[in-house]
Structures are given as structure tokens and as C-alpha cells.
């Protein structure tokens, strides 16, 4: 039934503190279509989906389901309207069985007792259809990530929703698992299910969707049938005209800086197998790879939070791997973790307290006192240096926007002058303005003689900022790229195979 509108979103806005997640978002989804929403991280896709699923309240705007204006107070309201969501981050209970996870909070009961038999009978058909052949009594934690994603999808399907929202459902899947998921989605589509598919991976979007909406900075830029679009058009729409300005050019090297390097030889540990890599001061080395490909393991090993099985690593101070984060911090190795709220900040404490984390917390020597005067001076220095927007150094960290929080995490390290910078997705959840500033900071780190290893899930960022990109695939280095486009990079990340053209560019210095 083309033209039959299931969901209509008008002028939706949402702000989180200082970050505008949605500025003026419009979306119309026809019944029976697969509608893709694409955009860079931070474009507002996920917020839009969370609002549709009732998990987040919009500040203003209207949502119509089947022509009727609705206001969701909770995910349950959305569920009652027939909207089911498969979240980007898995929201399963790993300790509980597959069945228990399928029926969270709505277990079928017989005489007040949860009936496993009923659950099994009801879910069998759907599990078969999804090709998920697992023991339904086994805890979900034992399944592979791909299987878990299918459990999550099965859970949503069991509620027989009118609309299925898939928020980057395959961000953690490998190629084979992705293919299986897609086969399932095509089947569902053929049966007339309506789907909203969110992704920033364009091949997938083109493979699966009927219609595409491009979002940027919290607005919908363009909505068109897939057949009338090309990938370059979509990229242009996603990135807009500001791409050049976003990435500052490399700065000239600071005169007289020391040339130093990290040499990694035959490193194994976690998923890593026999990795060789050298990074020099003055360059920004990008690290790319799917979840579990070894990028985060490499950073963890270099920072001393994870042990290596084998291999030799030489740091600028001619010593091996740090024994612990404390050792790393004292030797000038810094880590900006991906989850800054959990791993980077003391949210209930002031900026002043947070900036002192490494200087006071990790370093030995100096005074045994912690004094407000010097701590204030440190905080003020980093506030000026990094242009942190805050009322005063006494402002609490959780009162700041994402970008300013990230600057504090960076600032606490800059205060001790590290030589090796391990940056794990430092621009995650940060607005575009702050991103540009963080890119500038990274350039400065490297031009000052720092060795920068930069991991990111955003391809344009890797391409725009890094001097070379090392791609990890299943624990090994698939290859090294420089001067490539998003497309090629995406291909290598997903398949581990270097294209012929890229092999050549690798040879050029």
C-alpha cells in the first residue's frame, strides 16, 4: 500500500544540556517500506529513534502514528502503538537464558507461574525464521555477538510491531553475521513489515532500503527513493560543505623536538596476533577495525590495563610495556578512553579536581600536599588552553556538555606533558564545533613531538585527520592505508582485504 503513511514526524527538537541533538527533524515513513536514516555520528539519528521508541522525550515537535498524534511517556507507550526497537547497544541480560530475555517483563504465565513451555512454543517459529539455532535455556552471555543481536531482534518481533526500528544493528557483527541479518530483514520486508533502518554504512543502506532520509546536525537534509540516489550524493548530504574546514591541516613541526618512536614487534594478546607496528613522533596514526578486531586491545596493552601474551614493545624511554596504568602515566603514556563518563571523569567532582587526576593521582615526588592554589592554576591553565566553556574551575564535570567534558579528559593528561597519546574514539558523542577543536588539539599533540595513536569509529575522521591508517581485521593488521576515501577504508575494515590501488599507496612514504 504505497502512500499509506505509518509514521509522521514534524519539527522535532531535542537538546541535551548544551548539545543540540535534534534541531528540526522531519520524517515520513510509508507502511511496508524499509526506510533508511543515514548520517554521521551525532547527526541525530539515534536520538530520533529513541524518541520514536518512547525512551527519550522530545523538547518540541509532533509525532503521528497512523495519522493520530501521540505522546510517548515511556517505552511501554511506544510498544503499545506497535513500535519495536532493536538498540545499537545490546540491551540483553547476559546471565539469563535466551527465553527469559525474549520475554522480559511480559512472561506468559499459567496459574501465576512463568510457563517456559509456552514461551518455547511461541518463540520457536520466530527463532527458526531468524535461523537462530541455539539452546534456548542457555544464558545469553554464551552466545556470539551476532547471535545475541538476533535474540534482540527476535524479542522485538515477538511483540509483532507495526514498525521495527533497527539502530545500527550490525555495528558489532562480522561479514557473515551481517549477511544473515540482511537475509532475515529482506524476508521480513517481503512479509510487509515496515522498518526504519539506521546506519552510517552506506553499502548496507543501499542494499536493504527502499527510501533514504539523510540527516545532518539534527536536521533532515533530504529524503528520496533509493533508486534515485547515488552513494556520492548521500555522502555529500551527510557531510555537507564543511568537510575541508573540519580537519585542520598538519602544523609545522616544532623546531628542536625529539624524534621518538614506539616499536611494536610480534605483539599478541587478547584478539591480537603477531602485530608489527611503528609509530613516530609528529605523525597521527589512525587505528581502524570492527569491534573485537584488536584496536581496543592494542590500546589497552600499550596502556598497561591488559597483558600481552607475546611480543616486544619499545617505548620512547627504551623500556617495554607499562606494568600498570600507574606505570604508564608516570612514563608519559596517556589514554583518552572511549567512554569518558565511565572511564575518564569524576562527574560529581569539579573541573579543578578532575584536571588534577593524573598530576596529583599518579605522579610521584613533589609535595605530599594537595593544595587548592596550584590545582586552581592547573585548571585555569587548561580551561584557557583548551577553551573549556565553564563558569569557573569549581563547576562540576557533569554540568558540562560532552565536548567540554572530553576536553577535561584531554586536559588532565596535557598537564603532565605525555609523550605517547592513545586516543580511543575521542570525539564520540561530541558536537561538531568541539570536534573541530579536538582535531586541532590532536594536530598540536603530534607537532609538539607526541606519538599519536588515534582510534575512531568514524571513517571521515580517520581519513581526514590521520597521516596513515592501520586497519585491523580479526586480530591482525590487514594493511596500512593513506590518502584513501571512506569507501576503500570501509571495504578493508569489513573484509580485511586490501584493494590493489591501496597496496600501491601504501608503498608511497
Amino acid at each position: 500500500m504505497p502512500g499509506d503513511i505509518l509514521i509522521e514526524v514534524r519539527e522535532l527538537t531535542k537538546r541535551y544540556g548544551g548539545v543540540v541533538a535534534l534541531a528540526d527533524m522531519n520524517l515520513t515513513v510509508e507502511r511496508g517500506t524499509v526506510h533508511a536514516v543515514v548520517g554521521e555520528n551525532g547527526a541525530g539519528k539515534s536520538t530520533l529513534m529513541k524518541i520514536l521508541a518512547g525512551a527519550v522525550h522530545p523538547d518540541s515537535g509532533t509525532i503521528k502514528v497512523g495519522g493520530e498524534t501521540v505522546a510517548f511517556d515511556s517505552p511501554n507507550d511506544a510498544r503499545k502503538r506497535g513500535i519495536g526497537i532493536v538498540y545499537q547497544e545490546l540491551s540483553l541480560f547476559p546471565e539469563r537464558s535466551v527465553l527469559a530475555n525474549l520475554y522480559v517483563n511480559r512472561e506468559p504465565a499459567a496459574f501465576g507461574i512463568v510457563s517456559t513451555r509456552k514461551m518455547e512454543a511461541e518463540s520457536r517459529d520466530i527463532l527458526d525464521r531468524l535461523g537462530l539455532h541455539v539452546e534456548v535455556d542457555a544464558p545469553v552471555g554464551r552466545l556470539s555477538i551476532g547471535e545475541r543481536q538476533l535474540v534482540e531482534l527476535a524479542r522485538v518481533l515477538l511483540e509483532e510491531p507495526q514498525l521495527i526500528i533497527l539502530d545500527e544493528p550490525n555495528s558489532a557483527l562480522n561479514e557473515r553475521e551481517t549477511q544473515r541479518l540482511f537475509a532475515v530483514l529482506r524476508q521480513l520486508s517481503a512479509r510487509g513489515h515496515t522498518m526504519l533502518y539506521v546506519s552510517h554504512r552506506l553499502e548496507e543502506v543501499f542494499a536493504i532500503s527502499d527510501r533514504v532520509t539523510i540527516t545532518r546536525n539534527g536536521r533532515d537534509v533530504l529524503t528520496r527513493d533509493r533508486a534515485d540516489l547515488t552513494i556520492p550524493e548521500v555522502i555529500e548530504g551527510m557531510i555537507g560543505a564543511q568537510q575541508d574546514a573540519l580537519f585542520p591541516p598538519p602544523l609545522p613541526a616544532v623546531a628542536g623536538r625529539a624524534e621518538e618512536r614506539i616499536v611494536i614487534k610480534g605483539l599478541s594478546g587478547g584478539p591480537l596476533k603477531d602485530v608489527d607496528l611503528t609509530a613516530r613522533s609528529g605523525e597521527v596514526v589512525g587505528l581502524a577495525g570492527l569491534e573485537g578486531s584488536g584496536v581496543s586491545a592494542l590500546l589497552a596493552i600499550l596502556f598497561g590495563t591488559q597483558k600481552a601474551r607475546a611480543g616486544k614493545v619499545t617505548f620512547p624511554d627504551d623500556r617495554g610495556l607499562p606494568r600498570s596504568p600507574t606505570d604508564a602515566a608516570r612514563r608519559g603514556v596517556c589514554l583518552v578512553p572511549a567512554d569518558r563518563r565511565r572511564n575518564g571523569l569524576m562527574l560529581e567532582k569539579s573541573i579543578l579536581f578532575n584536571i588534577s587526576q593524573v598530576f596529583v593521582g599518579a605522579q610521584t615526588g613533589g609535595s605530599w600536599l594537595y593544595r587548592n592554589g596550584p590545582a586552581f592554576a592547573r585548571a585555569q591553565r587548561q580551561i584557557d588552553n583548551l577553551k573549556i566553556k565553564a563558569r569557573s574551575p569549581w563547576t562540576l564535570a557533569n554540568q558540562l556538555s560532552g565536548g567540554n567534558q572530553q576536553k577535561i579528559v584531554i586536559g588532565k593528561w596535557l598537564e603532565v606533558g605525555p609523550k605517547v597519546f592513545l586516543l580511543d574514539d575521542p570525539t564520540r558523542g561530541v558536537d561538531v564545533g568541539a570536534k573541530r577543536e579536538i582535531y586541532g588539539l590532536i594536530r598540536k599533540m603530534s607537532s609538539d613531538g607526541g606519538i599519536v595513536l588515534f582510534s575512531s569509529t568514524e571513517l571521515p575522521e580517520l581519513v581526514g585527520l590521520c597521516d596513515r591508517i592501520v586497519v585491523f581485521y580479526q586480530g591482525r593488521i590487514a594493511g596500512e592505508l593513506s590518502g584513501v576515501d571512506d569507501h576503500t577504508l570501509l571495504h578493508v575494515i569489513n573484509t580485511g582485504e586490501m584493494p590493489a590501488a591501496a597496496e600501491r599507496s601504501e608503498a608511497t612514504p
Binding site: G17, S356, G361, W368, P374
Partner: protein, 343 residues
């Protein structure tokens, strides 16, 4: 601390004046004393008030150490028995003829050793201190009973300088033990807020994962804090035996709940990251004022346990209410700030 050397402007490093966190409990304590005092003026006699303070001394010292544990999101349940065991140890050294001063230092070291035992177990097994000390609670009790044969330990020659010093009263009214307690509290307050160790304690309690990744070893801090706790228990025990002249085999058995209650009434949250030593001392005094006050009103002393419990519930409810208000205000401030920075 007046530290203005490196700050750009001396006044800039000062926070906009805010009421100290302890204001609430201090007002509560003063009000309580006044209310009881109006009804029973004899209660306000300075000697009576100083007696109340000196009654809080030995448990109060434990509360000072417990603030640090709560600040790193841990609890030590064995404090009462470390206190008892250290006192017994000190007493037995004195019985064996060791100089009382040396025996007292031995008691402090012994307490620290027991704390180290707790620490090694807790860090080595990666278990929360509350679980480890649940076990060592009985271990220390049992060992203490074994060495004192279930009888009170009474050191001989109680006319020596140590006993005189601990039991003395300055100007005839201020007990030395109470003075040591107050000095300890002030020093430990300073340590928590103005030293690297105190900073690290607060950092680990605020966010253990972030602290670890900033190079602050959670294990080291936990170990140090438990040893500190043990040493304070040892100090309290060694002074107790000097003050009372004997240690009963059951003394200390009911300390831990009172101590934790005092710390919580004082305003240290169970969620860690922050602690107030002054608050804990005031909290200890509130508990003591309640039980003494009841006696002044002629109410049966057995009610004091109930009232103490009710005060804990009241204190945490008020605290929660204040936090809620503060969070709402902070949120409002944030929204205003955002609209102000809007282009």
C-alpha cells in the same frame, strides 16, 4: 591553607563562599543540646558536656578512620575487634613487663598489622572489604578471646606516666583522651582534603575506573586505607586501656554499627567520593547527646538504641532531600548557562 603563590589572583582561587557541608549536622547538634539544656539546665554544665565528648572518644576515633573507608566505597566491619584485640595486646605487653609507652606504640602497630591483614586479603582476593572483614570480625574476636582467656586484661603498676598521662585532665576538666581525639580528627580532616593521599581517596571513591585509568592504583589506596583504619583502631585500643586501666573481653563488640551510624549522620555518603571527618565527629556526639539526654529526662536508657536508629533514618532522609534539591538547582543552572552560550 593559604596558598596564593601560583594562582593568578589570590582571591580567584577561592570558591564563592558556600556553607560548609557540616553546617547542617552542627546546627542539629547545637539545637539538641539547647533543647535538652532548656528543659534540664544541669545538662549545659561544661563538665557534663566534656564528659559527653570524652565518652565519644574511643568510638569517635574509629569513626574518623571509617570516613576514609566510606569515601572509597568500602566498609570495615572488624573495627570493634581490631580495637579490642589491640587493647588486649597492649595490656598483655604491659603485663609481660614492657614499658607502657612502648606497649602502647606496640598496640598501634598491632592494629595496623591487623588492618594490613584485612587489606592484603581484600586486595589479593579482589573482594570488597565488607566481605573480608565479615570473616576477620570473628577471627579477631576469637583470637582475642584465646589470648585473654575470656577474662579482662588488667595491666599492673597503673601509677606510671602512661596511665597518668592518658587519664589526666588538663586544667582539671579537659580529658587528655578527648583532646587526642579532637587533634586526630583535625589532622585527618586536613589529610583528606589537603594531601595527595586524601585526593586519591576521594578520586577512587568518585569513580574507581576513571581513577585507575588516571594512574591511581585502586588496590594501593584500598590497602593504605585499611592499614590506616587498623592503626587508628590500635591507637584507640591502646588509649582505652590507659584510660580505663583494663580491657573487658567484650568491649568493642557493638562498636561498628555506632561508628558507621556516626559517619552517615555526619554526612558522608555510602556512595563514596566524599567524606567529612568533622561531620563524623559531630555525628558521634549527636548519638552520645541522645543517650545522655534521655537519661536527663529520666527515660529508660534502653530507649537510646531506638532513638539512635530513628536519628539515622532522619539524617539520611534529610540528606537525600537536600541532594535532590541541589541536583534540581544544578540542573537549572546548567540550562541557564546553555541558553546563555547560545549563539
Amino acid at each position: 591553607m593559604t596558598d596564593t603563590g601560583t594562582a593568578p589572583e589570590p582571591s580567584a582561587s577561592r570558591r564563592r563562599f558556600r556553607m560548609p557541608e557540616e553546617t547542617g549536622v552542627i546546627i542539629a547538634l547545637v539545637l539538641m543540646i539547647l533543647i535538652i539544656g532548656i528543659a534540664r539546665p544541669r545538662f549545659l554544665n561544661p563538665i557534663n558536656l566534656l564528659t559527653i565528648l570524652s565518652h565519644t572518644t574511643f568510638q569517635g576515633m574509629l569513626a574518623v578512620g571509617m570516613v576514609y573507608l566510606l569515601a572509597i566505597r568500602e566498609i570495615d566491619l572488624s573495627v570493634g575487634w581490631i580495637f579490642n584485640f589491640s587493647a588486649v595486646f597492649t595490656g598483655l605487653l604491659m603485663v609481660a613487663g614492657v614499658d607502657p609507652w612502648i606497649a602502647a606504640f606496640g598496640g598501634v602497630a598491632f592494629g595496623a598489622l591487623l588492618g594490613l591483614f584485612n587489606g592484603i586479603l581484600s586486595v589479593g582476593l579482589r573482594l570488597p572489604a565488607i566481605i573480608v572483614t565479615l570473616g576477620t570480625y570473628s577471627m579477631f574476636q576469637g583470637l582475642s578471646l584465646v589470648v585473654n582467656n575470656g577474662r579482662a586484661v588488667v595491666p599492673p603498676d597503673q601509677d606510671t606516666s602512661y596511665f597518668n598521662a592518658v587519664a589526666a585532665k588538663i586544667f582539671g576538666i579537659v580529658p587528655v583522651a578527648a583532646l587526642v581525639f579532637v587533634v586526630l580528627a583535625i589532622v585527618m580532616h586536613f589529610v583528606l582534603h589537603r594531601t595527595k593521599f586524601g585526593y586519591r581517596v576521594q578520586a577512587v571513591g568518585s569513580n574507581p575506573e576513571a581513577a585507575e585509568l588516571a594512574g591511581i592504583s585502586n588496590a594501593t589506596i584500598k590497602l593504605q586505607t585499611l592499614v590506616l583504619m587498623g592503626a587508628i583502631c590500635g591507637l584507640s585500643g591502646a588509649m582505652y586501656i590507659g584510660f580505663r586501666g583494663a580491657i573487658d573481653p567484650n568491649e568493642g563488640s557493638d562498636f561498628v554499627l555506632v561508628v558507621v551510624a556516626a559517619v552517615i549522620i555526619g554526612g558522608t555518603p555510602l556512595s563514596g567520593g566524599y567524606g567529612t571527618v568533622i561531620g563524623a565527629v559531630v555525628g558521634m556526639m549527636i548519638i552520645q547527646v541522645i543517650s545522655s539526654g534521655l537519661i536527663f529526662f529520666g527515660i529508660d536508657a534502653t530507649w537510646s538504641t531506638f532513638v539512635t536508629g530513628a536519628v539515622i533514618v532522619l539524617a539520611v532522609s534529610l540528606d537525600q532531600l537536600i541532594k535532590f534539591q541541589r541536583a534540581r538547582r544544578a540542573n537549572r543552572v546548567k540550562l541557564e548557562q546553555d541558553s546563555a552560550t547560545e549563539p
